[in-house]
């Protein structure tokens, strides 16, 4: 509270203050140990990856050194080297950073587009809704995967930014639909009508009245989408339609296992990346589920 003390019972009032949404989430995490550990682990990995990768140079890490091919894990190369003699550990860090950046960026961009359009469509209804929903339908009927693959093959110097762009172009639709359907239900509540009679402009009602009521579903959806988007990146790269080898990602590391020799006899190349993905996905899902429960009073543990 920003206001200075008005009267003596100010501190008492402070005490009666009921828990806000954030406090409920904190309580839920404290109660759910798995989610708490997941959160700490996830944040730890993210921080470590981003800080460590600041000292790494992508060009240096991805420089081919034929004489060092397929070194087993040892004191020089913690996790050994791949067929180009490149250090797997450094690639893993850079790859994790790239994959996380892609996942987070796609999630944020698609969320912003989806929330903005979905809110407009759901709140106003009528022709606004029609225009937005037909656009969504149009994007949905496009063969997204094929267009992405074609885009990847024709664009020179494919990198993280271009990948984020092409993915965001297609993956905002489901979020837009979700938000729209919730906004449609929400605007029928009397408090929206009440806000109108109190003279609140439409944009304020949308942002400060309707949106907070959708916040729980947005947070949950964003967390779970983050896992999905990292998965999409890795699987596309695994198939060979994602990032090139010069831009390491978790997907590129795993895609080395397409070679049966690497798959069977040289697990140090792909196993760390696979385990890291597994850990990240599990962490994100546990966190997402805890948030989901916090959003619903009936499921809450804390």
């Amino acid at each position: 509270m920003a206001t200075p003390a008005v009267n003596n019972n100010n501190t008492e009032i402070e005490k009666v203050k009921s828990p806000s949404g954030f406090k409920i989430i904190v309580r839920e995490f404290i109660k759910d140990k798995v989610a708490l550990i997941s959160l700490i682990l996830f944040l730890g990995i993210v921080l470590y990856v981003y800080i460590y990768s600041m000292g790494l140079d992508t060009k240096e890490v991805t420089r081919v050194d034929i004489f060092n091919q397929f070194q087993e894990p040892g004191p020089v190369h913690w996790l050994g080297t791949d067929y180009g003699g490149r250090d797997v550990y450094n690639q893993l860090i850079l790859g994790a950073r790239n994959s996380l950046t892609i996942g987070i960026a796609i999630t944020l961009i698609t969320s912003i587009i989806g929330i903005a359009l979905g809110l407009l469509a759901g709140y106003y209804g009528g022709w606004v809704d029609n225009v937005v929903m037909r656009t969504v339908d149009f994007v949905l009927v496009l063969p997204a995967l094929m267009i992405i693959i074609v885009y990847v093959s024709i664009v020179p110097e494919f990198d993280v930014r271009k990948f984020i762009f092409i993915m965001s172009l297609f993956y905002w639709t489901s979020k837009c639909r979700l938000i729209r359907s919730k906004a449609l239900a929400e605007r029928e509540h009397e408090y929206v009508a009440a806000s109108k009679t109190l003279g609140t402009p439409d944009w304020k009602i949308m942002l400060f009245q309707v949106l907070p009521n959708l916040s729980s579903i947005i947070i949950v959806n964003m967390t779970l989408n983050l896992a999905g988007n990292i998965g999409i990146e890795t699987s596309l790269t695994y198939l060979g339609f994602g990032l090139p080898e010069s831009v390491p990602s978790l997907g590129t590391l795993i895609s080395y296992s397409r070679n049966p020799e690497v798959m069977e006899n040289k697990p140090w190349v792909w196993l760390p990346a696979a385990i890291l993905i597994l850990v990240l996905m599990l962490c994100i899902n546990f966190i997402g589920n805890a948030l989901k429960r916090a959003a619903d009073a009936r499921q809450r543990l804390g």
């Binding site: 920003a2 206001t3 200075p4 008005v6 019972n9 008492e12 009032i13 402070e14 009666v16 203050k17 009921s18 949404g21 509540h189 009397e190 408090y191 009508a193 009440a194 806000s195 109108k196 009679t197 109190l198 003279g199 609140t200 009245q209 907070p212 009521n213 916040s215």
Partner: protein, 308 residues
């Protein structure tokens, strides 16, 4: 001087169907009604559910668009001015909503809910704002300490008081009360109603009181309009309506009030049957060939009935 004047108000909703979703018919939610509100009085709008009374209220405050007709408030025609100009009159007309559970945003604290109109119309420092909200809360009988609570921590009656407090903060001239107590239990109803009467005297408010509960209407209102199928069937002072009902629909409504006196139960039942018989026999006298209600005709200075 008339505070609010409704003239030939019509609100139609299109029914779409067939090929290309053309308009094939209209639902006549409100079909040509006129009435006036004098400053300081309580006007009751009564009728069964679906007769258009809520639509009338929501149209006056601007939540629905009228299809035709004039709404004049303090000599300004609200139906003609643009939305931007209407903003100025928002302050003077406020609404109390029917459902205290959905009319308060569950994500907002009481202070934010009540401060919403203040933030829209007045520039107050956070400190002044807080003082004003505490003052209003005290007036509606809630403890000022509850400003940081969420709506779900209150009972239905308390929530309705928060709704009333929100409507009162701007010192409006006219309050449209859309079944303000129908979601509350009877003991709380009396509390809220008496409170509404008290503040009416204090702030010289005019109420448009929408309800289907005749007991409450009798308790609250000075003048009453009976609505049926989107039209007014009878209009008059409280005494005229309750002592001398003219239209068969009014009679039926009144005969449906349960009698408290058990000794007169049989007598009341006979009266109900009689009214029902009259309704069946003289249907044509009260409704025209299409089942439509006639226009209102004055039978005394204040009393008018829809008769041919």
């Amino acid at each position: 001087m008339t505070l609010l004047k409704i003239e030939n108000l019509k609100v139609y909703y299109p029914v779409r169907g067939g090929f290309f979703r053309r308009v094939i018919d209209h639902v006549k939610a409100v079909d040509d009604i006129s009435f006036e509100l004098q400053p300081g009085e309580t006007y009751g709008l009564v009728g069964e559910s679906g007769c258009g009374k809520t639509t009338t209220g929501r149209t006056i405050i601007g939540l629905n668009r009228p299809t035709a007709g004039k709404i004049t408030f303090n000599d300004v025609e609200l139906t003609k001015i643009t939305r931007r100009d209407f903003y100025k009159y928002r302050k003077d007309i406020q609404m109390i909503f029917q459902d205290p559970y959905s009319s308060l945003n569950p994500r907002k604290r009481v202070i934010d809910i009540i401060a919403e109109p203040i933030r829209n119309f007045e520039r107050l420092s956070p400190k002044e704002e807080r003082m004003k909200i505490m003052e209003v809360l005290e007036k509606v009988g809630l403890s000022p300490e509850s400003i940081y609570k969420y709506p779900h921590e209150f009972s239905g009656g308390q929530r309705q008081r928060i709704g009333i407090a929100r409507a009162l903060t701007l010192n409006p001239k006219l309050i449209i009360a859309d079944e303000p107590v129908s979601a509350l239990d009877v003991s709380v109803q009396a509390q809220v109603l008496n409170f509404m009467k008290d503040i009416q005297k204090e702030f010289n408010l005019t109420y448009l009181f929408i309800s289907h509960d005749l007991g409450i209407i009798r308790h609250m209102c000075d003048r009453i309009g009976i609505m049926y199928r989107g039209r007014l069937v009878e209009e008059g002072t409280k005494e005229e309506i309750f002592e001398n009902p003219q239209h068969i629909y009014t009679k039926r409504l009144l005969s449906s009030i349960p009698q408290m006196n058990p000794e007169e139960r049989l007598k009341h039942m006979a009266f109900r049957k009689e009214v029902n018989q009259e309704f069946k026999n003289n249907y044509d006298k009260y409704f025209d060939a299409e089942g439509k209600i006639f226009d209102l005709k004055p039978i005394s200075e204040t009393h008018s009935v829809a008769l041919p």
